[in-house]
């Protein structure tokens, strides 16, 4: 298998091509722009369509239209652009349209800056737009995961007829790393009997989300709720790192999840039994990961690039049975492995006399 050195955003583009994606609609925004640049250069000769839309709203609604025909489709943007897309994502969730949306998270609020952030966790995992819906959210932490999760995202989208979000950040998007260009995993045949492609030989179909009858509205909401519950039951993914015998756990995803691994290794060298739970699916949040630990671990620290968003899900997952603290950097700054460790030692009184 081919092993290449590529920039994070380009890896997403290459994985999309190799996933059988047929169309990409986007609008340039830093730090996600290399996705549309890479596809503009490489997608047409692979038989794909790239269209630089008039705006983010146009791009997401083009995805909506293309997905209605059963084609694999993707868009990519960064935080402010993802905000603009939210109405379209809500409509796509309501019509149950498979599509892959990439958010290369930059720091905010407002125009903010270009540095890495995890400030869009709430937006990604709690719906994001209007109405009550969920979007499957995958959080890669390495180049290889950018590639693998992009491929997985297309299959999850088809499997559940639901938009899937890849939540990357400016650090992952801009970093060059080696990646193995694996073959596309063989996906099962997905039911496409719902698509709109001209009514030859069948009844006409309508794909829309309009319901003026409250009774029907409630029926629809119950149907979606059941689907989301099913996804929560079956699709949770996470990685455990030195968790089994841990007395304290870090919980972190994406870029900080990666930094936390170094923190864990450094702690172990000092004799501190620290471990890591790294959520891979942010929605569904992997609360199953916490079941074995909620009665035996002494405390947890979530490490985030925001004011503390995932920490709410962690506290719910451990039913507040132990202290859960937050270590965070913001505005595009990243923590070092040692400042995380210092915080852990400080919070749980682990510093030996004289060492601090």
């Amino acid at each position: 298998m081919e092993r290449v050195l590529m920039k994070g955003n380009e890896i997403i583009g290459e994985a999309a091509i190799r996933s059988g994606c047929k169309l990409f609609f986007g609008y340039p925004i830093t730090p996600s722009t290399e996705v549309i640049e890479y596809l503009s250069a490489n997608f047409p000769r692979a038989g794909g369509t790239v269209l630089q839309a008039e705006d983010e709203i146009g791009a997401i609604n083009m995805c909506y239209g293309a997905s209605c025909t059963g084609a694999r489709v993707m868009t990519a943007s960064s935080s402010p652009g993802i905000s603009l897309k939210q109405e379209g994502i809500s409509y796509s969730a309501a019509v149950e349209l498979p599509m892959v949306i990439v958010n290369v998270n930059r720091c905010g609020p407002g125009l903010g800056g270009l540095g890495p952030a995890q400030s869009d966790y709430f937006q990604s995992t709690k719906g994001g737009g209007h109405g009550d819906y969920r979007v499957i959210t995958l959080a890669p932490s390495t180049a290889q995961e950018l590639y693998d999760f992009t491929m997985q995202a297309f299959d999850l989208a088809d499997k559940h007829r639901n938009p899937v979000l890849i939540l990357s950040d400016g650090f992952l998007g801009q970093t060059m790393e080696p990646v193995v260009l694996k073959e596309r995993p063989k996906a099962p045949e997905y039911d496409k009997s719902w698509i709109v492609n001209g009514s030859k030989g069948r009844e006409k179909r309508i794909l829309a989300s309009y319901s003026l009858t409250n009774e029907i509205g409630e029926k629809n909401n119950l149907y979606w709720e059941k689907k989301y519950n099913g996804i929560q039951e079956t699709e949770q993914q996470w990685e455990e790192f030195y968790a089994e015998d841990a007395e304290y756990l870090l919980v972190s995803y994406g870029t900080t999840g990666r930094i936390c691994k170094s923190t864990v290794l450094n702690a172990r060298k000092k004799g501190i039994k620290l471990g890591l739970i790294r959520p891979i699916t942010l929605w569904p949040f992997p609360d199953k990961a916490f079941i074995p630990y909620k009665d035996k671990v002494k405390g947890m620290v979530t490490v985030e690039l925001n004011t503390g968003q995932m920490i709410e899900d962690v506290k719910l997952a451990v039913e507040c049975k132990m202290p859960v603290h937050l270590y965070r950097r913001q505005g595009g700054m990243l923590p070092t492995e040692n400042e995380i460790l210092n915080y852990v030692e400080d919070k749980f009184g682990l510093s030996k006399e004289g060492e601090a």
Partner: protein, 250 residues
């Protein structure tokens, strides 16, 4: 007995739900006849907007996608780019295409997207209860311009077909009316040409149809038609505004 007039095959048997005197029904029938005559019902994907025009998804017998308010053209472009051999048309009101969705109208034309847009212009937001639109005329009384539309603060009516006709990617643009049998016949010709343009893959086509909203204009259906003729037709440039040579030779 011989059947001399029947429902077009382009329509389902769902009865129109429009207010008395509304011209949506006439326009939908014209489009349905065109789809039937060109034998493209089963090859067509319609895009419905938000507003009274949104009901179109139930009335046409072809496949349909319901779009968010203003996004019909973006959605249609997505579908057309995925299935270039299908016929894609949007059916939108003036609020949808000339207010909240203006950017898509301009850029669909600029890129010469091979879709057909039908714009139904009644100079008002119908479904939400008769609010002022960017297409409302100077002095027009609506529930959000109760003292008459003051163009110095709320702007002049946007003539979308004229705007779009200036862009090279728009190859056929017509502004017609359904106020009289003669004009209805002309409107049908324009709609047919617009669909033929798409069949030939020539570029973007737009047909704007001046329409009435007796309910929100607070007029009888016949007074509404008279008002349309006397007030709207002088403001909006009428006729075929753009016919490229290629379209001419169709």
């Amino acid at each position: 007995m011989e059947k001399v007039f029947a429902r077009s095959k382009g329509l389902t048997d769902v009865p129109f739900s429009f207010c008395p005197g509304c011209t949506h029904g006439i326009i939908m029938r014209l489009i349905a006849e065109v789809l039937e005559e060109l034998d493209i019902i089963e090859d067509t994907i319609g895009i419905s907007p938000v507003g009274c025009a949104g009901f179109s998804q139930d009335f046409f017998s072809c496949d349909f996608i319901g779009a968010a308010h203003g996004r019909a053209q973006a959605v249609g472009i997505g579908a057309k780019r995925a299935l270039p051999d299908k016929i894609v048309f949007t059916y939108q009101g003036d609020g949808d295409i000339a207010a909240i969705g203006t950017q898509h109208a301009i850029h669909a034309a600029a890129r010469g997207e091979k879709i057909t847009s039908i714009m139904v212009n009644n100079a008002i937001f119908g479904m939400t209860g008769g609010q002022m639109a960017p297409t409302s005329l100077e002095g027009m009384k609506t529930v959000t311009s109760p003292y008459g539309k003051d163009v110095s603060t709320t702007g002049y009516p946007i003539d979308m077909p004229t705007l779009v006709a200036n862009l090279p990617g728009a190859v056929y643009v017509a502004s017609v009316s359904v106020d009289s049998p003669k004009n209805i016949a002309q409107a049908k010709k324009a709609i047919k040409k617009a669909f033929k343009v798409q069949q030939a893959g020539l570029g973007f086509s737009l047909v704007s149809l001046l329409s009435t909203c007796p309910t929100n204009w607070n007029m009888s259906p016949s007074d509404s038609l008279k008002w349309l003729r006397e007030n709207m037709m002088p403001v909006y440039k009428m006729g075929e505004l753009k016919v490229t040579e290629e379209v001419e030779s169709l």
